[in-house]
Amino acid sequence: MAKRWDGIRISIDADPKYLDALRAVLAESTSILGLDEDETAKIALAVTEACANIFRHCYGGQPGERIDVEIRFETGLFEIRIADYGEFVDPAQMKGRALDDVKPGGLGLHFIHTVMDGVEYRKNKWGGTTLILQKRIEESAAAQDEFGFDDLDAD
């Protein structure tokens, strides 16, 4: 019987103190795929920045709200889905800063888009945003099972 899905789902409180734990899970996940330290660090950076944006802009810096993270092992693809329960934000409204305009802040979006191969924002069924981050991986390192993830489910 083909597997319905292969991956890891975790939920964290929207509190930055849980980012170390989330990165530890990511590191374990990338080690399953044989990704090196450099690739792992880049993915961890993108996920950290995405969660930081949720902390700041979606939940207003207030802990107690939930972030769902789904790590999916697809054939040739490593995908992380990050869902929040705030209001959907039009990606066109998200702005970083120019790299030559050196000042604190404004680099998170640049990192996300630079280190990942695919970045997509979707409005989820709770009205919030599901950010889909994709990293292509070599076929030899990818899981070879068939998958059928549904979108993140609410409890």
């Binding site: 930055p16 980012l19 660090a41 950076l45 930081a52 790299l99 604190p104």
Partner: protein, 111 residues
């Protein structure tokens, strides 16, 4: 994991040895230390990052704030002993050419 910041006085310089992950959760602690040094107008601030495993945009913002602070009184901030993944984040942001970065603490104190 969090962060640990150790302050050391070396002549006119102040050296901050940082350990851990410098991210949105932990950067306020480093920011507080650096702000104090900037307010004291220390002529040379060295941030030894040998023990830093991860840095995000919040960590970079903290260092940029200190860089801008030192420039207002002709001080200098030097970063040293960055690991390859941490240096890679600076390169992604083109900040490796903005900051003075040395391989060792000794070079940072002399730079």
């Amino acid at each position: 994991m969090g962060i640990k910041v150790t302050r050391e006085e070396v002549g006119k310089a102040v050296v901050f040895a940082v350990e851990g992950s410098v991210d949105i959760a932990s950067s306020p602690e480093l920011r507080g230390e650096l702000r104090q040094a900037v307010e004291q107008k220390r002529p040379r601030i060295v941030v030894d990052m040998a023990g830093v495993a991860f840095v995000d945009s919040s960590g970079l913002a903290t260092l940029i704030e200190a860089l801008q602070g030192t420039s207002r009184y002709d001080g200098k901030i030097v970063l040293c002993a960055l690991g390859s993944t941490v240096l890679g984040v600076f390169q992604l942001a083109n900040l490796d050419s903005i900051f003075t970065i040395t391989k060792t603490r000794e070079e940072a104190l002399a730079a």
